[in-house]
Symmetry: C3
Subunit: 493 residues, 3 copies
Amino acid sequence: MAFRAKICLLFLFFTSAFLLSPSVTVARRERNADVIVCQLKCEKLPGDEQMSCKQTCEEYHDHDREHGGSGGGGHGGRMRLKVAGNGDVGDFGKGQQGSNNPYVFEDRHFTTRLESQLGNVRILQKFTDRSAELFRGIEEYRVGFLEAEPQTFIIPNHWDADALLCVVNGEGTISLINHPKSRQTFNIKRGDIFRVPAGISAYLINRNNHQKLVLAKILRSVSVPGELQTFFGAGGENPESSFLNAFSTEVLEAAFDANRDELQRLFFGQQMQKGVFKKATEEQIRSLEESRKWPFGERKGRNGPYNVFEKNPSVQNENGHMHEVDSNDFSDLRDINVAVSFFNITQGSMAGPFYNTKATMVLLVPNGEGQFEMACPHLAEQHSRGSVGGAPSYEKVSSRLSRGTVVVVPAGHPVVIEASGGNQNLEVIGFGLNSHENEWFPLAGRDNVMSEWEDEAVELTFGVPARAVKKVIQKQNKKMFFKGPERRGQAFA
Amino acid sequence: MAFRAKICLLFLFFTSAFLLSPSVTVARRERNADVIVCQLKCEKLPGDEQMSCKQTCEEYHDHDREHGGSGGGGHGGRMRLKVAGNGDVGDFGKGQQGSNNPYVFEDRHFTTRLESQLGNVRILQKFTDRSAELFRGIEEYRVGFLEAEPQTFIIPNHWDADALLCVVNGEGTISLINHPKSRQTFNIKRGDIFRVPAGISAYLINRNNHQKLVLAKILRSVSVPGELQTFFGAGGENPESSFLNAFSTEVLEAAFDANRDELQRLFFGQQMQKGVFKKATEEQIRSLEESRKWPFGERKGRNGPYNVFEKNPSVQNENGHMHEVDSNDFSDLRDINVAVSFFNITQGSMAGPFYNTKATMVLLVPNGEGQFEMACPHLAEQHSRGSVGGAPSYEKVSSRLSRGTVVVVPAGHPVVIEASGGNQNLEVIGFGLNSHENEWFPLAGRDNVMSEWEDEAVELTFGVPARAVKKVIQKQNKKMFFKGPERRGQAFA
Amino acid sequence: MAFRAKICLLFLFFTSAFLLSPSVTVARRERNADVIVCQLKCEKLPGDEQMSCKQTCEEYHDHDREHGGSGGGGHGGRMRLKVAGNGDVGDFGKGQQGSNNPYVFEDRHFTTRLESQLGNVRILQKFTDRSAELFRGIEEYRVGFLEAEPQTFIIPNHWDADALLCVVNGEGTISLINHPKSRQTFNIKRGDIFRVPAGISAYLINRNNHQKLVLAKILRSVSVPGELQTFFGAGGENPESSFLNAFSTEVLEAAFDANRDELQRLFFGQQMQKGVFKKATEEQIRSLEESRKWPFGERKGRNGPYNVFEKNPSVQNENGHMHEVDSNDFSDLRDINVAVSFFNITQGSMAGPFYNTKATMVLLVPNGEGQFEMACPHLAEQHSRGSVGGAPSYEKVSSRLSRGTVVVVPAGHPVVIEASGGNQNLEVIGFGLNSHENEWFPLAGRDNVMSEWEDEAVELTFGVPARAVKKVIQKQNKKMFFKGPERRGQAFA
């Protein structure tokens, strides 16, 4: 049995049956990613059960399509280059676009953990629940969002996960309880990143009168990989919402040296305002804010926030810019092994193609509209073609991007992010997971990888004189951010 | 489908069917943890087989209960606080107490690896064999005990695991063979912790004439996560007990430059005393002890033992005290990523509630009797209640503690340890697994987390004036160790 | 249920049924490792399905044997020592020899990733595909070979894995593209080890006119544990062999600021020479070689290669020698956590028995013929024998070694490597995976572990005077490399 291309797409299992019929092959490529994920799960079964399991996935999908379950439509429509003398490779995009591919997560992949009229906490499903195979390398990480209405307080709690917060919108104040007898308070604003270590209890307030406070979070579980638990000591929705309620009355009486009536009134009384989000007065907010009287430099304990916008852009031109922060800039990123990039792409422009060497990048879209395309390798079906030199081949994975979309870009995978179809710049936050020693490389434009090849390497690779290649490769002289297809069309129109 | 609360307890899967009948819900909560663990295993199957798999677990359990398999009874009896106006939340303790919950391990969860009249080695089952989900984060670690009668020698061997030994009782001498041409010998006594790196061969002797030598061990596998192998070169129960026996005769002859008769006589001869535990003479013991003539400071190579009692208690009052040792105190703890705590709780007193921020704590009871209670989160069934703001809720997990009980307390989980029902102090050794950067926080008494909240945070959380809350929270002025329900009752009686 | 000896061999599940019939037990031991691996897979199923799953494995095997499927024969023939008064233990070697045991990998366990008349890249199957249980600790690592004919160029590409290359044969030149605007070129020759970090694109040339260039590779995946993807930007077998082909035409036009005809001609044109291996002219080779004009010391950026032969042998005598390189010698080994040993064993001689304390050693045979034997522990069936002191016992695992054989030796497992049956020295490259803090210990000859035991420890272990033991143990005065059975036989003949 040939090497199995579990990664990306499992076409290997199907194409062999349809080799003589390219059109069928293309049709197969359109089937949605649920089938692919389903079949990845089959891989866990003993070998002899795998094929029938996979067949079941397939049949289920066919049924689904006949009944209109697979969506379809979509904006798609872009073509890929025709192969000289080889017929049209076709546009596989349709099937892999939108929410049907395993690298793209949308609203429905989030679970609302906490919710009230004053705010909510939403956590993205475990990556490995989407695909146990594809995302095993990032299974410890989770993605979440917190939204709080103006003048809203979030009551103290701790998590069994290291958290990296990124302020997407608004301004607030966060307080951490350290041990023993120490508290730190920090004002946070848009662009701030901030670490809350596992087990450290914290409370938070949206101190703005008008703006929502929106935080994006990367969480790294410390106990069970990928599982998250929150711990509230008091003040939740009902008595069971305090972990103190789990202890025997006698034990609580002894611990607090109090009687049960006092404790019951305090922790579980009906007079308690329900919920973890609380409306705060302006006076309370003023008291909870970070004191400006504190002389700078005297602050001890944990680091405060780091603002990504205060670091100069690493790349910048009229098509966009990016800020990059890693553990050399902000040491709090080291333990959680995450780096942060902030892309701002001019409407009609695009970033890339580029790739990361080691990190798996999780892209979040706080604002704007766009599109991403990613090249995803799978093994060439060399045996079936009877050819020598069967190199890997690559599929396009793509999706629309809009506020709230989450995309996973694995290490080594070339990607393009395009600001298109909207009327404002596209903002993208990139969390680089497992970012230790990560670098990124552009694949077109200035400083692209090919521009460093020696002439002889170019000639041997392309089979034409280096001069002819360099003419094409060196024409684009911008770095990383380029005019996208839309603006380019206008320019030439 | 809502976020699945795999963690702690899987009530989610059942309560939906019984929402209208609280009494049934409670009954369900009584079913034992075997069902829960069984159902966790079902999670590994493809989605469509999970429900029927889980149903099978359930049915098996019902059968078991009808035939009296589930034990029941127990001392239980403690109530939890009643919810104002909401009816009795009930006492779920019964079902989760004793040996039926996945966090508690007892005699029957150990396997005897080696045993003779002179001693035994017992290893706790793999944590992930108990629950693949709950304990995946500590799957590399194992827990073991070694007991040796007075004047007993344990023959040289090596393991494919890093070991941290803790002398629970008695005194001995251990020798490590380093390479090349070096041996280190250390006397060890109660309270000593000591590292034996993976692959380093060692022998051990109980040099006391009267006392048993008892070691608790934390082992961290270096080869297959959670799997342990021991390697004996000579002197075991039968010829197959030497790894040399696995080699061809010709190879052994060549290696030792000896003939087969010599080798057979030496390694596999009938005259050999059987077993890995050997009775030693007083003279042999004296020769094997650590030489006192060695000038201090000349010792080279690996570290000797560190005695936990020689470090001052980090907390101490008339209700108990604790010694804490981490890798800052004893660098040998760094690689194995374990910290050690030793609790001594006065009979009738208790420790906590407290929690660890990052470490999963494994508690072992060398002496005494008691009880533990732990708050264990699971996700509120928010959808079924039709309410907004569904915060997590918490179950009580509890068990009796007695000599040999092992309890796992995950990171973030509040816990109380109580010395009760016995006539001596309760001793508890806490091994903090994955202890890098771990801290612990008290949840009641002096320095408790709530005492650091600002007044406004207190008011917003509790919905009553801070003064009223602080009156209760600050009443207990002891730290960590308090009078327990029993002594408190006496005081007031 | 007793502790399950998942590791090594699962005889536990069978012997209980055949206790009264030793001959049957021996027969069982002969069955091939496919059954064992099959049964290891059964372990993933729920408990109640495991036994029947395992039974199926067994029946399949019986069928196989009856129809001659299990090979058999083999050279085997070596006996193990007879047990005094206990009957012949038999020779289990037959069943575990050759390609049937899970620790040995041969040609058929490799997949050809790339192949043409000019060269090929072959990757060993995932260790965990062979045995998910045994090799979970090394699942991130893969083994591969690259072969290139004289004057052959391998076009630029990057991998989602850190690679450690070892030049087994020939000489070449490798160029790495660093960022931004930097390229490094190194000449490499037999014995060189060299690191190519994940995501760094590189090209390679065999600059010799006559010799094949052969590289052995250890790859450590950075994305999905054990999965490897290669990324080619241009120049592969067909248009789909460039990751650029996965992007929309419009996006590529925008990225390169070029029109589709130019791009199509360049990247996907028919005039392109196919394949990733290209024939180079002598002139091209001269241009691609590392420049000798570069003043030494000025080189910046990544480390160049380290030649294992330039380090003095750590052990050397007329029976063989070994070179050892770890991260203290060559810091590039640290991140990938691999150490490298090179054994050269004189024909008719042997190395060991010895074991590694922490590393799992992967042995590759670049040249020569031989044999290896390894002691593999499994738990004694103590209960069935009704005996006390049931220590572990050990099986022999063995195999022929020839060019291309790959053997995995887990931490702690004693092993002997023998140069036999050929007419040249046996060369073995040992990659120590997870080598942090690894040491190795000899079990016979000079400096062997037993030679460091105190006399009293020797007496207690063997039950005879230390003098009698030392006479045997200290007779062999060579270190590590000894005359093997063949030469020894000649010497005495």
